[in-house]
């Protein structure tokens, strides 16, 4: 770990810890959505970025995770729509939900193994439509169109929910559901990120990149291509499932409609914008795509060209859409490494300037430009 990386990590960690003490709930919620998106995007980046398998159906696995958790954790309910549930302890439910997403990915992997490129992309697109159909018809599991409430996670008696009867106050700041979930989100994201980085930097990562770049060569070199492809698909689905569980916990209500095509496409946009094939890229892209519309909405009154709701002109939501569409195009045309590549370049430049300031003589020494 280099000195600058260390400093960066410390700054980020400090920021992450301090944020819930300052920002109000809606910022925390946006942050949590971004974290969930980042986990999902890391998974998709393993699949699409690192292994070259186009998946447009990632939202389906998020849905499996979200509804899986709700079903495993809820108690059955009688009512206008009777709802099923297993009433398991919530941490168990969360783990099972992630596994279930993996199983769903595993069930689809025979198809995934047979198809490539565009065919795989559109076949996974079918998952979205079939998933929507299944979710709105499987009312006892999903609550139908309206979805169902999400039981809060409870670990060793600590509840990740608002507890008005027994408020938790730390340093004078009341800790509600979002403040508590914030730390859970950070832990999950960190774990998911480190694991994925391990995978990418190790042997499996190299094998995945070979499959992406030269599938036949990978086969010749003795990489079990089919097994890897299926394995990565399952792993990526589990990341999706985990993201789904976190989103459900933040939402407090899961609704089938949410897990639609737009969500799936936004995940693809994230990994492209952030940078294909790396963990940091996925995180940067996720933050960009999920925070952009919120920032524009919030500051629409201060921004030129953006009108208030109800007026003629480009509204904040539309501006965000256009910007994020443009970002995808611009990144592919001009920033082959995504925002991550840009960040690395800037960092390199700053480091070089810092390094060259005291000893200008050495500035002629070539610096490796192609660092990951």
């Amino acid at each position: 770990m280099s000195r600058s990386t260390l400093l960066w990590s410390i700054a980020l960690a400090a920021a992450a810890v301090v944020i819930p003490f300052y920002l109000d709930a809606s910022w925390l919620q946006d942050g949590l959505f971004a974290m969930a998106a980042a986990i999902g995007a890391i998974g998709l980046n393993l699949l699409t970025g690192a292994t070259g398998q186009l998946s447009m159906g990632h939202a389906f696995f998020l849905a499996v995770g979200a509804f899986g958790y709700v079903y495993f954790a809820s108690l059955p309910e009688e009512g206008a729509h009777s709802l099923g549930g297993l009433g398991l302890p919530t941490p168990v439910a969360a783990v099972l939900a992630v596994l279930l997403a993996g199983v769903a990915g595993g069930l689809f992997s025979p198809i995934a193994a047979r198809l490539k490129g565009a065919y795989l992309g559109i076949a996974t697109l079918a998952l979205i439509f079939i998933g929507q159909f299944a979710m709105s018809n499987a009312t006892p599991v999903t609550g139908g169109h309206n979805g169902r409430p999400v039981p809060p996670l409870e670990v060793f008696g600590f509840v990740f929910a608002d507890t008005p009867d027994a408020p938790l106050v730390i340093a004078g700041v009341p800790f509600g559901a979002l403040e508590r979930l914030w730390f859970l989100g950070i832990v999950l994201l960190l774990g998911a990120g480190l694991f994925a980085r391990g995978v990418l930097r190790g042997r499996p990562g190299r094998a995945m990149n070979t499959i992406r770049d030269h599938e036949i060569a990978a086969g010749v070199m003795g990489v079990p291509v089919a097994r890897y492809r299926a394995g990565v698909f399952v792993l990526s689905s589990m990341y999706g499932g985990l993201a789904g569980v976190l989103i459900a916990l933040v939402f407090q209500q899961t609704v089938p409609d949410y897990f639609g095509l737009l969500l799936a496409l936004s995940y693809l946009a994230m990994i492209i914008i952030g940078g294909l094939g790396s963990v940091a890229g996925a995180v940067i892209g996720a933050v960009f795509v999920s925070m952009l519309p919120r920032l524009l909405t919030r500051y629409s009154d201060a921004l030129p060209l953006i009108v208030q709701p109800g007026q003629e002109g480009v509204g904040a939501a539309e501006a965000a859409q256009i910007l994020y569409g443009l970002a995808v195009v611009v990144v592919v045309l001009f920033l082959p490494g995504g925002l991550l590549g840009l960040v690395n370049q800037l960092r390199l430049r700053i480091n070089r300037r810092v390094a060259s300031a005291p000893a200008a003589k050495h500035s002629l020494t070539p610096t490796p430009e192609t660092r990951n």
């Binding site: 186009l54 198809i111 490539k116 490129g117 076949a123 018809n137 492209i272 569409g325 045309l333």
Partner: protein
């Protein structure tokens, strides 16, 4: 029986319109190996131009303008984005087209606003009565126009220099280049043709049985994806077959929903995708697709 025939004819005519869109996918895929997710916006722009100009220009001139407008937009996307994107992985190009689509669709739907725009077609809500069978005139027009355009397209594809260059490029871009084929021109032409086909499809998507053009039209472009895939992304015949299969499936499943209730309601929308998955399980490159091409 009458219901069945009505549903079948309806399905075939919708299928012909899907085939127009699917052909656009196929042409672009053959020329540039890109799956074009910006097709929805080509559809929208064609319809929008027709809707906005038919009152001033008359329907036929507006239609021509719509076709030309969508063709120009297609060519522009190729020229400004696809050609300049220097990527190895074609999945990335597909995602770029998603970006393009988001930008264009957002702006166009903003322009359309909350209106339902009429396209000023000459067929109105008239219906042809053949004994007990009723078929809207607009549907017959769709069937005839789509068949004529598809036939013309297939002939051009087979017999013109443009078609030969397209097919040569699709089969082996490097060798085609060695023959002096200008790849840029071929792919730009493909995008333009796809745009025009989409505009024509937009016309028939937005006239009677449906009330007019509004922001939801883009959703229909999604249904042409399974059509193109199940036929085989690199096969023009496949696009035709795929379009018809999807149209007829959708029509029949919708019409016999009552009898199919055990499968869950609202099946009509998913049926195309289910059919597609089943076909892909048996033939991973689609019904008429070439196997190697699936490796891209």
């Amino acid at each position: 029986m009458i219901t069945f025939i009505e549903l079948l004819v309806n399905g075939i005519s919708i299928g012909a319109v899907y085939a127009l869109i699917a052909l656009g996918f196929v042409v672009i895929f053959k020329a540039t190996e890109v799956v074009n997710f910006a097709h929805a916006s080509l559809l929208l722009v064609g319809g929008f131009i027709i809707a906005k100009t038919h009152e001033a220009l008359g329907f036929w001139a507006a239609l021509l303008l719509g076709l030309a407008g969508a063709a120009v937009l297609g060519a522009l996307i190729e020229f400004l984005v696809i050609r300049r994107a220097n990527v190895v992985n074609h999945s990335v190009l597909a995602i770029v087209t998603i970006g393009v689509d988001i930008v264009l669709t957002t702006e166009l739907t903003r322009q359309i606003g909350t209106e339902v725009l009429a396209l000023g077609d000459p067929w109105g809500s008239e219906v042809l009565h053949l004994g007990a069978i009723n078929i809207p005139l607009a549907r017959i027009a769709a069937l005839l126009a789509a068949s004529a355009v598809i036939a013309a397209f297939l002939l051009a594809f087979k017999y013109t220099n443009w078609g030969v260059a397209m097919r040569a490029t699709a089969e082996d871009a490097e060798t085609a280049a060695l023959m002096g084929v200008r790849r840029g021109r071929v792919s730009m032409g493909a995008w333009a043709v796809a745009g025009a086909l989409a505009a024509l499809a937009a016309l028939f998507m937005c006239i009677f049985p449906t009330p007019g053009l509004d922001r939801t039209v883009t959703a229909t472009a999604m249904k042409a994806f399974p059509a193109a895939i199940l036929g085989g992304l690199d096969s023009t015949t496949g696009a035709l077959a795929g379009g018809l299969i999807i149209g007829v499936t959708e029509s029949l499943v919708g019409g016999y929903q009552g009898e199919l209730v055990f499968l869950g309601r609202g099946l009509g929308d998913v049926a195309p995708f289910l059919v597609m998955i089943i076909v892909l399980l048996i033939r991973p490159a689609g019904l008429f697709g070439t196997r190697e091409l699936a490796r891209v």
